[in-house]
């Protein structure tokens, strides 16, 4: 459905009233909201959706309001994150189509880009596109070239920047026009990395170019093209910055809460060639924002605050985290595109590690990537073993539904009755024999009480008798249960068993072990 809107817009954009788009979009988004994994995401989504649907009912003249709502909506969409691979794509298409429709009522500025994209790059689109689309909201009164409204991740950014400049500062616009020519070929080079788009969309501004260079979809394919384009962007920016600087300054003088403007000014300061010190202050606050695929607002805020502390913190409110993040070189750091890309990657990884820290219990004190990874590995291993153990328990419990649980036998009786008990304790034997003599490898994460039965120390001797009588199950002993059983051996009654209310004490231990199985 979204594709229809999109492809249909290739010709003259039909004057679809915004409400239709909203309705179709809302339906599309609702479908995806239902597919979203986490319920809180769906709630956010619904609220954003409702706000969005209500807004387009407003007159087209209130485009600024709409755009702001759009921005919020897109931001929320972006914040829903890429937990699903499918939904962001269609989300982005739908939202982009929605914005398309809305803008078509305003100016003809979008008509040209709508004509241009012959191919829709939906699979390439990432949730980061959502973050960029908010910038589109500002690109309203632009009659100069607007970057093509394709699913290209860089598009929204470019459009946003360009429009921001044009709408606020005439000087900026003229300089923008001058810049545009420089970027035509670059934009063509960049526009659709994975699709051979013959038409060159007119790119708006240098910062957007750089932004889009940075804003490639997360994934394997991003890094090499990213570096190339960022190099190009850098070179272009430096050449054109002097042109655009007076205009940018004028644009900056006004209090603008937009990323694009700040971006351009940032770029102007990055090579530190321009004396735009005043603008620098604006930029410091927006200095670097990581491309947050999860769009964790809190994280973005933290990144921003650390940037603000770097330079003279501007009183400008922090950018909405949904805006596309441009990586720019910090002061005193290498501006090499490679290192920039590397920095982006590192920050992404550290972001993920933070998330994982919250998931893995007991990881708060651990610092450093290697130790964290070790903990994560241990935790995942323990979880997998637990699953196997529990499924094994389920298998045995299901077959022993009518076993006599009350027959608590003393330990010696247990030993003498080893024949009758072999079956019951069988599942533990092979692994028990396997782990004999091995060192325990206790995991911190195994303290959730769903673990092993309390196999206490008196039990090992009886096992010796059994091992040679019982067939071995090599797959059983593939190490899955080793640690688990070992822990059971190593620990005594103090080990809390969340699911087992029995009290392991004295002579009951043996019988309890039998019950556990």
């Amino acid at each position: 459905m979204e594709n229809q809107f999109f492809l249909g817009a290739q010709g003259i954009p039909p004057p679809i009233p915004p409400l239709d788009f909203g309705q179709s979009l809302s339906s599309a988004m609702e479908i995806q909201a239902s597919e979203l994994n986490s319920s809180d995401y769906a709630l956010q989504f619904e609220s954003a959706l409702s706000s969005m649907v209500s807004s387009p009912a407003a007159s087209a003249s209130n485009v600024s309001n709409d755009m702001f709502v759009f921005r919020e909506l897109i931001g929320k969409l972006g914040s829903i994150g890429n937990s699903d691979d499918v939904s962001p794509h269609t989300l982005m298409a739908s939202s982009s189509s929605y914005i398309n429709g809305n803008n078509s009522t305003n100016t003809s500025c979008y008509s040209t880009p709508l004509n241009s994209p012959p191919k829709l790059n939906l699979p390439v689109m990432d949730v980061t596109v959502a973050e960029k689309l908010p910038g589109l909201g500002k690109s309203m009164g632009m009659d100069s070239s607007v970057a093509d409204f394709s699913a290209d991740p860089g598009f929204a950014e470019r459009a946003a920047k360009f429009s921001c400049f044009g709408s606020r500062s005439f000087n900026g616009r003229t300089s923008q026009l001058g810049l545009n020519n420089n970027f035509n070929e670059i934009s063509g080079y960049r526009s659709n990395p994975s699709s051979s788009n013959g038409k060159l969309p007119r790119v708006s501004s240098s910062p957007s170019l750089k932004a889009m260079a940075m804003a490639s979809p997360i994934g394997n394919k991003s890094n090499p093209p990213l570096q190339d384009r960022s190099e190009l962007a850098n070179s272009q920016e430096e050449s054109s910055i002097t042109n655009g600087d007076p205009g940018f300054k004028a644009a900056n003088s006004r209090k603008r809460k937009t990323v694009p403007k700040a971006k351009t000014n940032e770029n102007s300061t990055s090579p530190s060639t321009n004396a735009a010190k005043a603008t620098e202050q604006n930029e410091e606050s927006n200095e670097k924002r990581c491309k947050s695929t999860e769009s964790n607002g809190k994280q973005n805020g933290s990144v921003k605050t650390e940037e603000e502390s770097k330079g003279n913190a501007n009183t400008k409110p922090p950018e909405p985290p949904k805006d596309y993040i441009h990586v720019r070189a910090r002061r005193g750091q290498a501006t090499d595109s490679h290192s920039l890309a590397e920095r982006v990657r590192r920050e992404k990884i550290s972001e993920r590690m933070k998330l994982l820290q919250n998931l893995v219990p007991g990881c708060n004190k651990v610092t450093g990537k290697a130790l964290m990874l070790d903990e994560i590995i241990n935790y995942v291993q323990s979880l997998q073993r637990q699953v196997e153990f529990l499924s094994m328990k389920l298998a045995s419990v299901n077959t022993r539904l009518d076993f006599n649980v009350d027959g608590l036998m003393p330990k010696d009786a247990f030993q003498s009755n080893n024949n009758s008990l072999t079956h019951e304790i069988f599942p533990m034997d092979s692994s028990a024999s396997a782990i004999f003599g091995q060192n325990p490898a206790p995991h911190g994460g195994l303290s959730n009480g769903t673990m092993t039965p309390c196999l206490v120390d008196p039990l090992p001797p009886p096992f010796h008798q059994f091992t040679h009588t019982l067939p071995t199950y090599p797959t059983f002993c593939e190490g899955d249960l080793q640690t688990i059983v070992e822990m059971g051996f190593g620990q005594n009654q103090s080990r809390e068993m969340g699911s087992q209310p029995e009290n392991f004490q004295g002579s009951n231990q043996v019988a309890d072990m039998k019950v556990e199985l």
Binding site: K369, L390, L394, A395, T399, D402, F403
Partner: protein, 157 residues
């Protein structure tokens, strides 16, 4: 409980599979042989993994890998595993060229281990691998929760 949450999806599927397994193999009053228990255990484990992977569908790489693995087990194992190995090799080399050019990252050794643990993790760079790991952990904990409850209730019966 959210009707469409991961937990509910997994629970329904898993219980369905469990009932199927129980129906297939009648519960014998006498203690079943160890082989039977083991077979049953395998079936239950496979059911748990499969129902979890199906609950996630193909949204995640690890679920896709798990489903692939489950589908192409013993019957067509040789051909399937060979195909999978070659595919994984190409993907991993590509990922290696991307993510491991600069070994200063220091996490490559553990990353390898993590790749082995998380299904389908061989062909992902570290960034995506961590993503997958987070989701995988979340699903594993859900799975454990359900299994645990199931085990409790069936034990009390």
């Amino acid at each position: 409980m959210n009707p469409s949450s991961l937990k509910s999806r997994f629970t329904t599927r898993f219980l369905r599979a469990l009932t199927k397994i129980n129906a297939h193999k009648p519960i014998s009053s006498s203690s079943p042989g160890p082989g039977e228990i083991f077979q049953r255990y395998r079936r239950i484990k496979v059911a748990a993994d499969k129902s979890m992977a199906y609950s996630v569908r193909s949204r995640r790489t690890w679920s896709r890998a798990t489903l692939w693995r489950l589908r192409t087990r013993s019957p067509r194992s040789r051909l399937a595993t060979h195909a999978r190995r070659s595919w994984v090799k190409t993907r991993s080399t590509r990922a290696a060229s991307h993510g491991k050019e600069k070994k200063e990252d220091g996490g490559t050794v553990e990353a390898e281990e993590l790749r082995e643990l998380v299904p389908g993790g061989e062909a992902m760079d570290l960034c995506n691998l961590l993503d997958e790991t987070a989701h995988y952990i979340k699903c594993l904990t859900t799975q454990l929760d359900i299994l645990d409850r199931q085990e409790c209730t069936s034990r009390e019966l």
